[in-house]
């Protein structure tokens, strides 16, 4: 074999070997998109306004309680989340210097405006953005925890969007999207609160003792009222203290368990510092009810029978699965803000499976048709093109595996189109060779001219398609991106195989034969 030909063969073998190597084993190396594997694609928006409001609420409560610790009694607080500030009533006889000192010490993120008997504390510049950013980051972390605990393999959880307040979640293989969506979206903000009044069947009778308005340190909350069999028969109204005894943040762990009658519940353990606080509270409040509040809903309001320190139980007529899920989200932590779904795409496993079967069937039948045609029309040269086509497909799949590209249903369509486009290059060359043969050129020179003349055309034709594919990749999302990827790689591969591989095959065939009279084309 001539040296030149040998080099070409080595290059081809090396490329094919590299493609095979990166492709093997295909079941592990080719990533399937959600539309083929089945799964859920979600885009959530973090309502960061919630986090702003929560921070202001929390700060207002903190200020009142810090002041109380130093013997300073403050008036009512009011939060204005729109302008990122809260105000607090400062009675005329207040120790203003003491209050100033507390604010200076514990509220460095706030600017204070002192106006008579009402002081207002507003975020310093940039604090607002910082809190929003933290809320998204905490949300991302919490969702990560929850998905991890739920047990989804290879999830994708990313922050995105211009404002950076969106979270993209992709969960392959999920077969019960409703349950997963519930688990992800639950805020899971758990609070234990002192019950000041209630339960009452309605608001007026609850507030009868307070002249119709809840006290300044209390608020009205409601929960389901259940009958003997656990069925919901109405709402119960409570007045609970605004400040919580402990919250979900104080939990060390939570797990599903059951009571002595076999009813599922959730058991939790507290971190040591919270255990002390909880122990102190329960020992001094034996015989009084305490509300367990989840996301603003009173789950139950049991009466404290003894001192509770480091562990407890949450009951609420749960099914096994509800108890399991509640334990899971309590372990994973609360979301710092509510989340809103902006986009959902669920592909059930059977639809994905179906798409794969049909996609493969379409690809194979297309491939067989094209190959048969090439064989019939161009005979041995058609065989040459078919070898090039097979190598093309191996390179295409190998490159996809190498780049970690995802195969989607439109991606399979891209592979199928590549089959059509790939033979186009061969057709251009073969038609040219035939023309050259017709005008009486020798086989060698016809092949020579055929390839060199067709090359420019092949390049022009493929580059235009590549331009479309690249912009599709740039602006496409999900499955469409998969299409752009297979199409782009396919274009490169087909130029290589049609121009280089087919040419080499001719070279091998013609090598060692001095005078070639005929070409099977």
């Amino acid at each position: 074999m001539e040296k030149k030909v040998l080099w070409r063969v080595i290059v081809i073998v090396a490329v094919v070997a590299a493609a095979m190597w990166s492709l093997w084993p295909p079941s592990e190396k080719i990533h399937w998109g959600l539309d083929l594997e089945g799964g859920v694609h979600l885009v959530l928006q973090v309502q960061t306004d919630d986090a702003i409001k929560a921070e202001l609420d929390d700060a207002a409560q903190r200020l009142v309680s810090f002041a109380a610790d130093e013997g300073i009694d403050l008036g009512a607080t009011e939060v204005d989340a729109e302008s990122f500030r809260f105000s607090v009533g400062v009675p005329a006889n207040t120790d203003r210097e003491g209050l100033d000192e507390i604010i200076g010490r514990s509220f460095p993120d706030y600017d204070v405006t002192r106006a008579g008997t009402s002081w207002s504390l507003a975020f310093k510049p940039n604090i607002e953005r910082l809190i929003r950013d933290q809320a998204v980051r905490k949300g991302l972390e919490t969702i990560n925890n929850r998905v991890d605990q739920f047990g989804v393999s290879e999830p994708v959880i990313q922050r995105q969007g211009i404002e950076g307040d969106r979270i993209l979640i992709q969960l392959p293989g999920v077969d019960d999207p409703e349950r997963v969506k519930r688990i992800i979206k639950s805020t899971a903000f758990l609070q234990f609160k002192e019950v000041m009044a209630g339960p009452a069947p309605d608001r007026p009778s609850l507030l009868a003792g307070y002249a119709g308005l809840p006290p300044s340190d209390g608020e009205v909350m409601t929960g389901n009222r259940t009958g003997y069999a656990g069925e919901v028969v109405g709402r119960s109204y409570y007045v609970v203290k605004k400040s919580s005894i402990i919250t979900g943040r104080d939990l060390r762990s939570a797990r599903r368990s059951q009571d002595e009658y076999g009813m599922p519940n959730v058991q939790f353990d507290l971190v040591p510092s919270a255990a002390d606080k909880f122990g102190n509270y329960t020992s001094s409040h034996i015989g009084t009810p305490m509300a367990i509040v989840l996301d603003g809903n009173v789950m139950s309001a049991p009466t404290i029978r003894a001192k509770i320190t480091d562990s407890g139980v949450i009951e609420g007529n749960y099914s096994v699965e509800e108890a399991e899920d509640l334990a899971l989200i309590l372990r994973a932590g609360a979301l710092p803000a509510t989340m809103v779904y902006l986009e959902e795409r669920t592909v059930g496993p059977s639809l994905g499976h179906d798409s794969v079967v049909r996609g493969v069937r379409a690809a194979v039948s297309g491939l067989v048709l094209v190959m048969l045609f090439m064989m019939v029309y161009y005979r041995l040269s058609g065989l040459n093109a078919n070898v090039a086509l097979m190598i093309n497909l191996i390179i295409l799949l190998g490159a996809m595996a190498y780049f970690g590209a995802t195969l989607t249903l439109p991606g399979i369509a891209g592979v199928i189109l590549t089959i059509g486009f790939a033979v186009d290059a061969n057709v251009l060359i073969f038609e040219r060779i035939r023309e050259e043969l017709r005008v009486g050129k020798t086989v060698r020179s016809a092949i020579e001219t055929g390839f060199s003349r067709a090359f420019g055309t092949i390049l022009d034709a493929n580059l235009t398609t590549l331009i479309a594919a690249l912009f599709l990749f740039q602006f496409g999302t999900g499955p469409v991106k998969g299409f752009a990827v297979t199409l782009s790689i396919g274009i490169f591969a087909s130029v290589f195989t049609a121009v280089f591989v087919s040419r080499t095959i001719y070279m091998i065939l013609l090598a060692g034969r001095d005078r070639v009279q005929t070409l099977s084309i």
């Binding site: 019960d176 986009e343 049909r358 297309g366 045609f373």
Partner: protein, 394 residues
């Protein structure tokens, strides 16, 4: 073998008829799009929710429609998905104006309420997931393993996967007896599932919901993709060819896209992201086809200087005619396999390419070159006039 021999068809002589015909089709298409129902934009671009459901038996469309009225969001669109004997229905509803949120959840809740009332608290093998089944089996322990929660999950996890694997293959359980066909699951477990589980009337095949802000984003991205690829291709053609050819290729491109859009409008097919991807692939194909002819014209221009452009173009088209047909043929072979075997999800995608390839082949012969020729003659006469004027002044 040769399908098309040496031809010498004066294609460009038919240019007036061909261009008039194309113009007529395009104009009536545009009129149809603007005066009629227009393009059927899918939820990717207008937002909305779409749920595909498989039923155990023949679905009761009246009941479904009634069920969906509780959503209060205008008339839901119900249509068959795939072959009728598969009992698959696609439900599409608009989302409440300007609102974001989970809109697939409520649809499924309504379907549960109205269709699955009969199964009560039983475990629904057609909608629940493997993790839930694992939990149920773990708690009740029909194999009497005596394992703790974690061990039970390990033991029953693969069993639950195997049981619900049936749904993955077949889409839905139609009878509890189908449980007997599942291998690798103990009789106790099967007996337990038969006792505690039941079959809901439907299974969820897929669900899509796009809120207004994502819809806006997608629309913007699709527009950018289209605009930039058009600019990219124009720039390329402009660099590689003279102006008249660029104009010809672009005319053919718009011709193909406009006619394909008309076909989409007439058939009422939904336009979603993959449809746009197919349109762009078609744009690539269309330009590709024109470029092959023009490359030949350029080559012939060098060989036969001074010959009439119309004659040259005719020769070039005839010379490349065989290639044009064979490539269209092989591309049609793959596109047809995609159209017939690819399934409903990809059908519109295949349809765009199918129409596009046929129209694209026509336009590379009857639109691209005639327009290029016309442009060339216009430029030539413009130059002549200028030269004449210059002479007069002198």
């Amino acid at each position: 073998m040769r399908i098309i021999g040496d031809t010498n068809i004066p294609f460009l002589s038919y240019r007036k008829i061909a261009l008039s015909l194309s113009l007529l089709v395009i104009l009536s298409g545009l009129a149809y799009q603007f005066l009629g129902h227009g393009l059927n934009l899918g939820i990717d671009f207008v937002g909305g929710t779409q749920v595909t459901i498989k039923f155990r038996g023949e679905p009761d469309l009246g009941l479904l429609r009634k069920s969906m009225t509780d959503l209060d969001v205008g008339t839901p669109l119900l249509q068959r998905f795939d072959e009728p004997e598969k009992h698959e229905i696609l439900i599409r509803v608009e989302n409440p104006e300007g609102e974001e949120g989970d809109f697939t959840g409520p649809i499924i809740e309504l379907l549960r309420r109205d269709l699955n009332g009969g199964i009560g608290d039983a475990f629904d093998l057609n909608t629940r997931g493997a993790q839930s089944l694992t939990l149920l089996l773990g708690v009740e322990d029909p194999d009497a393993t005596g394992l703790d929660d974690e061990g039970a999950a390990e033991h029953y996890g693969p069993i639950a996967e195997a049981v619900l694997g049936f749904r993955k293959e077949n889409g839905i359980f139609t009878s509890l007896d189908q449980l007997d066909t599942i291998e690798g699951v103990s009789e106790n477990v099967i007996a337990f599932i038969k006792e505690r589980a039941d079959l809901g009337e439907f299974a969820l095949l897929g669900a899509e919901s796009v809120g207004p802000s994502v819809g806006e984003d997608l629309k913007e991205k699709a527009q950018l993709a289209i605009v930039f690829s058009l600019i990219g291709m124009l720039a390329y053609i402009w660099l590689r060819f003279q102006l008249p050819f660029g104009v010809g290729a672009v005319a053919a491109l718009f011709h193909d896209v406009l006619i394909t859009l008309t076909a989409l409008a007439v058939t009422g097919r939904e336009i979603n992201l993959p449809t746009v991807a197919a349109l762009l692939a078609l744009v690539g194909y269309s330009v590709n086809d024109s470029v092959v002819v023009f490359d030949r014209v350029r080559e012939n221009l060098k060989l036969h200087r001074g010959e009439d452009l119309e004659q040259l173009m005719n020769t070039s088209i005839n010379q490349t005619l065989s290639r044009t047909f064979i490539t269209s043929g092989t591309t049609l072979m793959v596109v047809l396999s995609l159209y017939f075997f690819g399934g409903d999800v990809i059908n519109t995608f295949a349809f765009v390419l199918l129409v596009g390839v046929i129209v694209g082949t026509y336009s590379s012969i009857f639109v691209a070159s005639p327009v290029a020729l016309g442009m060339h003659r216009m430029l030539a006469s413009y130059r002549d006039k200028k030269r004449l004027k210059g002479r007069k002044r002198r």
